[in-house]
């Protein structure tokens, strides 16, 4: 028993429960922002503490079912960072929607715990538990705006579709268990490496691809994304877009880089097909969106496609490109969603048209949108450029020139729609000329995320080093 392996999870759970208990004892605590401040302080100390935790393949818990390797720790830090931003964004956002802010902040910790369990799981049941803990908490968070019908609808949709996808995933897991008699990653892959192939393996792979594809919103398992993203409270949408998606990716990486590593010839064609579909559909449909959150939903679908290029490259550099991209993707998306949050706080709407004449009303917010969207579009000097460059170069390096060319072509389409948003924001005049009021916490989130987007873009060296070190320790 090595408690330090699960210390972050324990910390997250305790802080979550602490916030709930405080809320039960002091009713005023539930309705005040204090819970949020407590959450942020707790998360910050977790983040700092995480840098002192030992991480290696030998840092395990319960029979190596649970590992704290560099990869797991990296993802945990990513999730904690996202949670900090999300809680800071929520402080003022929640006001019109609910009186029970305390529970909301507590719930983000449970979602966070689920993600962290997924990052460390080295066995399928553990992975599944983490995934469900995350999913159920997200359902509650999605439906948190009780007066808003869309929010409720989104929550309901999310839970029903998640249940279906979980069923698929579980079916795949039971097939795997039936085939190999094992559930831990290392055990299964050692059985596979003996060469006993059954046609059922193909089916298990398909089930797992579908079940995990649902979480990272691969086409055609993406259909919940726009509806849920639109209905959920904006900070939660951001959490889904960066946290839940990254959690899906860590599971994806462990399963496909590790468990199924002998079956690349089977899953690669499937994965390539899904990637092509994701790139095409995600980017093309984004063109037709009128709501910012739906638009960002399709943009996040498209980004899953770009990131998958790294999986398809199937190399150390491919993996490190994924990790690097996830970092910058976090900052760019948080910047964009923080911008949407500010827009909602000030106007109550989130249509793209509501951005008209924003430059006059809030140059600060406009600059944040500019930097974040340019990063998502992949234009220098923002981080998105170097991230895409890294991914595409590695894909070409591994012989997927056509795929990289397609991805590059679709990122051109993407530039088109990001610019449509920026054009709306810069041009035109709004009858409403009142300048925006952006709360300090939100402003800080924006400054940090946009600042990091520029820092990574201008000086990517340290960040690629981190990504490469982790990729090397994993593969």
């Amino acid at each position: 028993m090595n408690i330090s392996v699960v210390s972050l999870e324990l910390a997250a759970l305790s802080i979550g429960f602490l916030i709930i208990i405080f809320g039960l004892i002091f009713p005023s605590f539930r309705s005040s922002k204090t819970g949020g401040y407590l959450a942020i302080i707790g998360l910050l100390s977790m983040l700092i503490g995480s840098f002192f935790l030992p991480a290696s393949n030998t840092q395990t818990f319960i029979n190596a079912f649970y590992v704290q390797d560099d990869l797991a720790l990296f993802f945990k830090q990513l999730f904690i960072l996202a949670a900090i931003f999300i809680n800071a964004m929520s402080l003022h956002y929640l006001k019109p929607y609910t009186k029970n802010k305390g529970d909301y902040f507590a719930l983000t910790f449970f979602a966070l715990t689920g993600m962290m369990v997924m990052a460390s799981a080295a066995e399928f049941i553990t992975l599944y538990i983490g995934l469900e803990l995350m999913t159920f908490t997200f359902v509650l968070l999605t439906a948190y705006k009780k007066q808003d019908l869309k929010s409720g609808e989104a929550g309901l949709k999310y839970i029903l579709l998640s249940a279906i996808s979980s069923g698929v995933l579980l079916y795949g897991l039971s097939l795997l268990y039936g085939l190999t008699g094992k559930l831990d990653f290392a055990g299964i892959s050692s059985v596979f490496s003996l060469g006993a192939t059954s046609p059922l393996v193909v089916w298990a792979i398909i089930m797992l691809l579908s079940g995990l594809g649902f979480k990272i919103a691969l086409v055609p398992f993406h259909m919940w994304t726009p509806d849920v993203y639109e209905g959920a409270p904006t900070p939660i949408t951001a959490f889904l877009a960066v946290g839940s998606k990254a959690a899906g990716f860590i599971a994806f990486i462990r399963v496909f880089f590790h468990v199924f590593s002998v079956y690349t010839s089977i899953f690669m064609p499937l994965l390539i097909t899904l990637t092509v579909l994701t790139l095409l559909i995600g980017n093309l449909i984004a063109l037709a969106q009128t709501h910012l959150k739906r638009f960002l939903a399709y943009s996040s679908i498209a980004h899953a496609g770009y990131i998958l290029l790294g999986v398809i490259a199937y190399s150390k550099l491919g993996l490190s490109a994924i990790l690097f991209y996830l970092m910058l993707y976090l900052f760019a998306n948080i910047g964009a969603f923080a911008g949407v949050t500010a827009l909602v706080i000030n106007t109550g709407h989130d249509r793209i048209a509501d951005l008209t004449g924003l430059w006059k009303r809030s140059p600060f917010l406009s600059v944040i949108f500019l930097i974040s969207l340019l990063s998502l579009a992949g234009i220098p000097p923002t981080a998105g450029f170097i991230g895409k460059f890294y991914l595409f170069t590695e894909a070409i390096h591994q012989g997927y020139l056509w795929l990289a060319a397609l991805a590059l072509g679709m990122s051109l389409v993407a530039i088109y729609y990001y610019l449509m948003v920026l054009r709306t924001l810069l041009s035109g005049t709004n009858e409403e000329t009142k300048s925006f009021i952006i709360p300090f916490s939100l402003r800080l989130v924006m400054i940090v995320s946009a600042g990091m987007t520029l820092v990574i873009g201008i000086w990517p060296g340290p960040f690629t080093d981190i990504a490469l070190r982790i990729a090397q320790s994993f593969l």
Binding site: L149, P220, F221, G357
Partner: protein, 620 residues
């Protein structure tokens, strides 16, 4: 001196940062910071050029901006650095000189504008990016700054973004360039994959061994797409005329003298890549030649003074590209240099006129020669230089291009070039006779502009007169140098005047002026009747061969349409027949009924169909 070369782009960057961080509120101070820092760069650039001429030696310095090593083996190295050779030094001089003059000019031109400080910040950022591109020692850095100048151009075209046309034009420029850069990026990643380097020097050492191979043909053409976009070669030309929505000094700096010339510069910089495959060179030559003619014909009928100049720029860029394509880097770069001076002059002159008349339609001007003599006469000098009249700058560079075209046996292109010379003179003097001379065509109250605006005009006018002399036999006899000295280290090519070619092209230019004089000054032939007579051709030209309409149709109907179709399938069709799930939630038995409302069922159906499809494929 070379060790200070990095300061040339850094000074404008510092100006940008200072304006953004400190002086944003103090308009005049921002302008002074931008102008003086740019002047600092100019002085540095001049001293580096002088040193390069005295001591011809290439200096290259770089740092590894990003190194990615796997298994102790470096797999990806991205450098940031500078390569100072005479080519870069000349280009630095052009950029800093025009930038400084434009900044000075803008103090008067932008007076009272709401975004005064923002404007000077953008120009400083642009100058930084452009210089970063010029001194770059590798394709990767070039690409990064290439995109940055594109971004600055986007911000500057859309400077008056509250005008919808400006916002649309900036978007168009950005996106058109992205399509071209798509090829450029694939090309340079391809170069890296095949030859293992982005560095110009390293690449030129390896590329020479692979002459006329298929892989170089493909990579060369892909990389060439970049310059085609930036220098607005056909079929990427559509963005440049629209880019005129930006403030006029911007058009002078970015869309006439420097950024659009970056494409020409890149072809010159990576010349070995293109010159190693004959067919790539032929493509470059013919695309250049075609663009020259194509744009010149459109310029014949335009009414907007800036658009005429924009099409003229397109045409001249085509000329330069043609020169590079037929195999003469010297003449291409020489024309780039002279063109930078006289085209910047023409744009700034046009800006001065627009500033006075508050209109861009040449048919609303007229009678300006008495009101604003400095502007008008410098404009005439610029036009004469552009038309290639002896002994102004354009004469020498245009003559040089026509000579090399003939020498390399591109007779067709030579005839085309001469025709373009005729058309150029015609449309420029059409503009002059209509807009500057004659009677007032509208009730305007024009007056001469302030000294900050006229001084740059005078300096550029002098340069437009004398800049061509550096590539004349006389200059060679006097100093032992010619323009090629500034580009290469080898023995200078000795300039010779081919009197027959010079005579022919001068005749074409004078002919153009003469015809314009007959039609528009003397009005012996009615322009309207001509237009009526050749109605079809006139409409075709007026609508710029309908290329914009074609693109608009393809993108708006095609791409966005496709997006809408997919959205419809994704949403309406698959979502089922039901739109108001929300209304249903209000009623009782929510869960049960929601299950029957289509949306969810359809989503689940898609999921299962996908799994089934994958299974069929997987077990097949």
């Amino acid at each position: 001196m070379d060790q200070f070369a990095w300061l040339i782009p850094t000074l404008p960057l510092a100006a940008f940062l200072i304006i953004v961080a400190l002086t944003y509120r103090f308009k005049l101070l921002s302008a002074i910071v931008a102008t003086s820092f740019s002047l600092g760069s100019l002085i540095l650039a001049i001293s580096i050029l002088i040193q390069k001429i005295q001591n011809p030696k290439t200096t290259e310095t770089f740092i590894n901006w990003l190194t990615i090593t796997a298994n102790q083996q470096t797999v990806l190295t991205l450098q940031m650095g500078y390569l100072i050779d005479p080519l870069a030094a000349v280009m630095c001089l052009i950029v800093t000189l025009i930038a400084t003059l434009v900044l000075l000019y803008s103090i008067g031109y932008m007076k009272g504008d709401e975004g005064f400080s923002r404007y000077f910040a953008y120009i400083s950022l642009f100058t930084f990016s452009m210089l970063g591109l010029v001194i770059s020692n590798n394709y990767f850095q070039t690409f990064v700054f290439w995109e940055l100048v594109g971004l600055c151009s986007y911000l500057l075209i859309g400077f008056w973004f509250f005008k919808p046309e400006a916002a649309d034009a900036s978007k168009k420029a950005f996106i058109t360039n992205r399509w071209a850069d798509f090829g450029f990026l694939v090309g340079i990643i391809g170069l890296f994959t095949v030859f293992g380097s982005f560095n110009f020097t390293e690449l030129s050492a390896v590329i020479g061994l692979h002459q006329n191979t298929l892989v170089l043909l493909i990579l060369g053409l892909l990389v060439f797409l970049g310059p085609m976009g930036k220098s607005a070669m056909f079929p990427f030309h559509v963005w440049l005329p629209d880019a005129m929505e930006g403030p006029t000094p911007i058009s002078a700096l970015i869309h006439a003298a420097t950024m659009v010339a970056a494409g020409i510069y890149l072809v010159a910089r990576g010349y070995i890549l293109f010159a190693s495959v004959d067919s790539v060179m032929i493509v470059i030559a013919y695309i250049g030649g075609f663009t020259a003619l194509f744009a010149a014909t459109i310029a014949l009928v335009q009414r907007d003074i800036k658009r005429i100049l924009a099409f003229s720029t397109l045409s001249q860029l085509g000329y330069m590209m043609m020169a590079l394509g037929v195999g003469s880097m010297t003449s291409g770069m020489f024309h780039l240099t002279t063109h930078a001076f006289f085209k910047a002059l023409l744009f700034l002159g046009a800006g001065s006129i627009i500033h006075a008349v508050h209109d861009q339609d040449i048919f609303n001007m007229g009678g300006l020669v008495k009101k604003m003599p400095i502007t008008v006469w410098t404009f005439v000098i610029g036009s004469l230089a552009l038309s290639g009249i002896f002994p102004l700058a354009g004469f020498w560079s245009k003559d040089e291009i026509l000579t090399v075209t003939l020498q390399h046996h591109f007779t067709g292109l030579f005839i085309l070039g001469t025709l373009v010379a005729f058309l150029t003179a015609f449309y420029m003097f059409r503009l002059i006779f209509i807009a500057l001379f004659g009677d007032k065509r509208s009730n305007h109250h024009a007056h001469e502009s302030s000294w900050t605006m006229t001084l740059p005009l005078l300096i550029l006018a002098i340069l437009s007169i004398v800049a061509g002399l550096v590539n004349t036999p006389w200059f060679y006899q006097w100093t032992g140098m010619s323009f090629s000295t500034f580009l290469f280290f080898k023995e200078p090519e000795i300039p010779v005047i081919h009197w027959s070619i010079a005579g022919l092209s001068s005749l074409a230019a004078l002919g153009g002026i003469f015809v314009a004089w007959i039609i528009y000054a003397k009005q012996h032939i009615s322009a309207d009747k001509l237009a009526e007579r050749f109605k079809g051709a006139h409409t075709l030209l007026l609508n710029k061969y309908y290329i914009d309409e074609l693109y608009g149709w393809v993108f708006n109907k095609g791409m966005i349409g496709l997006g809408k179709v997919f959205n419809f399938i994704d949403h309406t069709l698959i979502d089922g027949f039901f739109d108001g799930t929300a209304t249903l939630i209000r009623s009782t038995g929510i869960q049960l009924r929601l299950f029957q409302t289509g949306r969810l069922q359809q989503y689940a159906l898609v999921l299962f169909v996908a799994i089934a499809a994958m299974t069929i494929w997987g077990v097949r």
